[in-house]
Amino acid sequence: MEVLGYLLQQLVNGLQLGAIYALIALGYTMVYGVLRLINFAHGDIFMFGSFVAYYLIAKWQMPLSLVFVITMAATALLGLVVEKVAYKPLRGAPRISLLITAVGVSLFLEYFLSLDSMFTPNYIAFPRPFDVVAYDLSLVAITNIQLIIFSVTAASLFLLYLLVYRSKYGRAMRAVAHNQETASLVGINVDAVISFTFAVGTALAGLGGILYGFAYPQINVFMGIMPGIKSFIAAVLGGIGLVHGAVLGGLVIGVSEVFVSAFLSSTLRDGVIFVILLLVLLFRPNGFFGKRREKV
């Protein structure tokens, strides 16, 4: 019985991490869907979200609901700026140039924000405006933080689903993702749709940043690199371009990471993720749910 409890507990831990990865992965997948671009800087926008939330809570003592709204707006804004300034001018360019630009944006965000005049390169304690409460449910213990993460993620997913599959904006997004040229022929303002997609994707990353700050209360300018890469792998795992793929991928990656840490060694957790990536790329490059893009 204790073993079962232990397993369940680790599963919950994994889902907590996975939910955050899912939120970030969604941004990656949506942007890739409409632009065929791997937005390398996405992890750094996630980091930006954490920092914005930190300032709002620590320096300006804002009520939580406002923190969520402002942070997501800020990251969405950053996403839009990045898109307009760095990616849009390169719309027709070879994919590699775009990728290099994305790498450049990522590095720029990291190092610019690491300057002492900006966020500083230090590790900062993320404030928690509420106390941690653990609920002991005999087999497992769940904290209020985990509950918040699960509920917020679930709610966001539901709203996102409504947006993408049940609204005209979503239909436009799917059209552009399917074929940009034809979409413009049917009268869709492709630029606007791309910008909109970026904004939604990065807003989700910002949300992930806040929740991450709650769960692991130490933020640092370089914190987005690994979660960014892992979330991207999650998106690939589930099938890049697919919303449900990103969610599944995120959860799987989160749980795998935690399980490796629990049953093997914490020092191998990153390595296993990359092995998963290589396996996916070799055997099912279209991802679990995918069938849509050729990778060859």
Binding site: T101, F274, L278, L281
Partner: protein, 320 residues
């Protein structure tokens, strides 16, 4: 000497460069620190040359080049440690072995991933690079001396100006011959249009693999030289940032240009290291703010780099 045919001018120029450098070193004008930086630049050029073959000529975008550089470094360091090697002559076979080992790993990894499309290849190589980093971090579980994430100390200092120069010149000549041979032609065809190349009967799979393996071999050799220059290795030296270092040199210098790589390598290392001496540590961090901006602007204006496809007459690298 078909091998050296056409490279005569380059050899002459290299000899002159060597004499000048040696004089500079011996005169005492250059401190040991500066000497180390110069050697480091030459080592970076070798590794970047490898990436140029992979990406600049053949168009395969690899973000994991530093992993092969690291493999060469660690393997050669382990061997010199195991065999208590001290002299340059005994070191040469080890250096070669380190390079070949890297090349082999490159070949093996290439089999599955080189089939992938460019941006996915980028992610696959990135993933591989990170995997190697994790393995290096845990390497001390296999052999304690390697140090894992504590670092590998006590590597003998075997690399010197003569060794690096000879290796560099030799590899440039080899690379140049390859580039101007039918293989180089095939590689560039593949970069321009892979589908058309296949239609023409070029065995693209084999050619891509060959370019990749060769590039990784160069990286491995460079790694071996690096290890025995700095005498200290740490897995964090071989991460994504290092791969990007090589990429920047290749892109700035120009894809498909050996001259460009040499020039950019010197410029790049000189810039980064020169600033370390010149600037107080507060401003030093700004260099990493301007580098990505520079990169982005470069992508917008000259996406193929400064010397793309052009070789220098003066240095004797171009086709005669």
């Amino acid at each position: 000497m078909t091998f050296l045919k056409g490279a005569k001018r380059f050899l002459v120029v290299s000899a002159v460069a060597y004499i000048l450098l040696k004089a500079l070193f011996l005169s005492g004008l250059a401190t040991e620190y500066v000497q180390q930086v110069v050697l480091y630049a030459l080592v970076m050029i070798i590794a970047s040359l490898g990436l140029n073959v992979i990406y600049g000529y053949t168009g395969q975008f690899s973000l994991g080049h530093a992993a092969f550089y690291g493999i060469g470094a660690y393997v050669s360091a382990c061997l010199t440690h195991a065999f208590a090697v001290d002299s340059v002559y005994a070191f040469l076979p080890i250096l070669l072995f380190g390079g070949l080992f890297s090349g082999l790993i490159g070949y093996l990894i290439g089999v599955p991933i080189l089939k992938l499309r460019d941006d996915f290849l980028a992610i696959a190589t990135l993933g591989f690079g990170m995997l190697v980093r994790v393995l290096l971090d845990n390497s001390d579980k296999v052999a304690d001396v390697v140090g894992g994430s504590r670092g590998f100390i006590g590597i003998p200092r075997i690399t010197n100006l003569e060794l690096v120069f000879v290796v560099l010149v030799f590899l440039v000549v080899v690379t140049r011959n390859l580039i101007f041979s039918k293989y180089g032609l095939f590689w560039q065809c593949i970069k321009d249009d892979e589908l058309a190349s296949t239609a023409f009967g070029i065995d693209t799979g084999r050619m891509k693999s060959m370019a990749f393996t060769y590039g990784c071999f160069l990286a491995g050799v460079a790694g071996g030289l690096y290890a025995h220059l700095y005498t200290f290795l740490h897995p964090s030296n071989f991460d994504l940032l290092k791969s990007i270092d090589f990429l920047v040199i290749v892109i700035v210098g120009g894809m498909g240009s050996i001259t460009g790589t040499i020039f950019a390598g010197l410029l790049w290392v000189g810039f980064i290291e020169g600033l370390r001496i010149a600037l107080p540590s507060g401003i030093l961090e700004l260099r990493w703010v301007f580098i990505p901006i520079f990169l982005i602007i470069l992508m917008m204006l000259r996406p193929y780099g400064l010397f793309a496809q052009k070789e220098s007459r003066f240095l004797g690298i171009d086709k005669t």
